[in-house]
């Protein structure tokens, strides 16, 4: 059996395409920041398509997208205070670039500690709303100056966000750099955004590169909520899925844009899948979950897990943190 096994795996090879991609790594500078390794890579290839994507947005902006998204996710109308907070975190931009007859403009940017929602307006494309549901840029890079010290990699995804009355397609870019606790994206900075070739599914619609530069002013995020005690939640072991041990998280911190958790036992993250059924319960009964997360290690050995809320949250309206059916009251 051993020989048969060896003969069989002797015929399993990495594809030529993978090999070429790996060999091409040598063309990158080793310290290149815009590559997307580790867990954040998963975000980079995730293209989320919302239900009801072809929204008629007129000249709507990012607050309308959040309001629409909140209604779809929770079944509730977004609170006016929450919209006010989103406005506070959002900066109108208006900078753009034209390539091959297509103009891409950064409409606005909404900021979190370690997430940027960037609303893009794409004018000059000849596509229908049906086609647009699978649209995104084939490549994306961003440099931020001054760059947060701990930032070494990032993830991103694109989401179609409707059409404006002038026919321009709106696309939401979520930018998720892997930052440690000391760094945030809230400081004033200059941003250079590079977008490469616009594609619909497998088809390239417009080849080219759009380079857009803009500045972000300092933003203030409302104070976060913290849990005084540790919490225990069931996790799925990587080796024996039939058993569900509980894992402990400390220093639970909820910001308007993220959930931060610290593994009580860093070793556990090698043994279980990071528990991912987190949501926030609002006072009006609305419940909003996260849209993914990343993990990183701190120099002192602590292991941190960060999840991003789908929409910025007004923390004064939050009732509890939930994990599946488990409820952890706040306030």
């Amino acid at each position: 059996m051993e020989r048969k096994y060896r003969d069989m795996f002797g015929e399993v090879h990495a594809s030529d395409r993978l090999k070429q991609e790996v060999l091409n790594m040598t063309k990158q500078r080793r310290s290149q920041r815009r590559h997307i390794p580790l867990a954040a890579l998963i975000a980079a290839v995730l293209v989320v398509v919302l239900a009801g994507t072809a929204l008629a947005m007129a000249n709507a902006g990012i607050r309308d997208w959040f309001a629409q998204h909140w209604r779809e996710e929770t079944g509730h109308v977004i609170h006016v205070d929450q919209l006010g907070m989103i406005d506070q975190l959002t900066q109108e931009i208006g900078a753009g670039d034209t390539c091959n007859g297509v103009t891409v403009t950064v409409d606005s940017v909404t900021r979190g500690e370690s997430i940027l929602w960037i609303l893009l307006e794409i004018d000059g494309l000849e596509i229908t709303p049906e086609e647009a549901s699978g649209s995104f840029f084939a490549d994306m890079g961003m440099s931020i100056t001054p760059q947060p010290e701990s930032m070494e990699s990032f993830g991103y995804d694109f989401e179609e966000a409707g059409f404006r009355e002038n026919g321009a397609l709106m696309v939401l870019l979520r930018y998720l750099p892997l930052l440690t606790e000391e760094d945030t994206l809230l400081d004033a900075c200059n941003v250079e955004l590079r977008l490469g070739s616009f594609t619909l599914g497998e088809r390239t619609v417009v080849e080219g590169t759009w380079n857009i530069s803009f500045s972000l002013e300092k933003a203030d995020l409302p104070e976060s909520l913290t849990l005084e005690n540790s919490i225990w939640v069931p996790a799925l072991p990587l080796d024996t899925p039939e058993e569900r041990p509980e894992v402990e998280f400390r220093d639970v911190r909820i910001t308007p844009t993220e959930l931060h958790l610290v593994w009580a036992d860093p070793e556990m993250r090698e043994k279980v899948m990071a528990p991912g059924y987190w949501s926030l319960l609002m006072k009006d009964g609305a419940e909003i979950s996260h849209c993914g997360g990343v993990g990183y290690d701190l120099p002192d050995g602590r292991a941190v897990k960060v999840y991003y809320w789908k929409v910025p949250i007004d923390l004064t309206q939050v009732e509890a943190l939930k994990f599946g059916e488990l409820v952890f009251p706040l306030h």
């Binding site: 069989m8 015929e11 399993v12 790996v22 040598t26 390794p37 998963i42 995730l46 293209v47």
Partner: protein, 156 residues
């Protein structure tokens, strides 16, 4: 840091191993490619010197397993990759195709130790070190994997 030539040689020698370990972990070629790519990127950026080829091979095996764990643990583990881009392995002999399917049907906890033992030639203690398991656990899993595989082959 490896030179470009050293890195290219490492890719030629070890990329298949990295991919196979990841394929045994995930069973899914797209996920295995992700893990393999991340692992090789880590190698390209690694600042540590490698004493010899065996040191490099073991480092790659360990980093691959860590990457597999990281990807498994990420809630964003959803990919849109066409099977045309990441094809399933193709074998010269139908019997090998069947054996591959039988191996892939084994529980995950058995597949990786089996591969490291049978194909890469690691000892039980080394596999225990790579997987963070006791030697006795590895021995038990190997025995059960062999037993299960034998049963599957007999049934086939």
């Amino acid at each position: 840091m490896l030179t470009e030539k050293e890195f290219t040689e490492a890719v030629e020698q070890h990329l298949d191993m990295v991919y196979r370990i990841a394929l045994n972990w995930f069973r899914s070629p797209p996920d295995a490619e992700d893990a393999a790519q991340n692992t090789m990127l880590r190698l390209w950026r690694a600042e540590k010197p490698f004493a010899d080829g065996e040191h490099l091979r073991r480092w790659l095996a360990r980093v691959t397993l860590n990457e597999c764990k990281r990807i498994s643990a990420n809630p964003w583990r959803h990919r849109m990759v066409s099977m045309e881009i990441c094809p399933e392995p193709v074998f010269s002999d139908p019997a090998r195709q069947t054996l591959f399917q039988d191996v892939m049907e084994l529980p995950g906890k058995y597949r990786v130790p089996l591969y490291l033992y049978y194909y890469e030639g690691y000892g039980v203690r080394e596999i225990g070190e790579l997987l963070g398991m006791k030697t006795s656990t590895v021995q038990t899993r190997l025995a059960r994997a062999r037993e299960k595989l034998k049963t599957q082959l007999e049934e086939a």
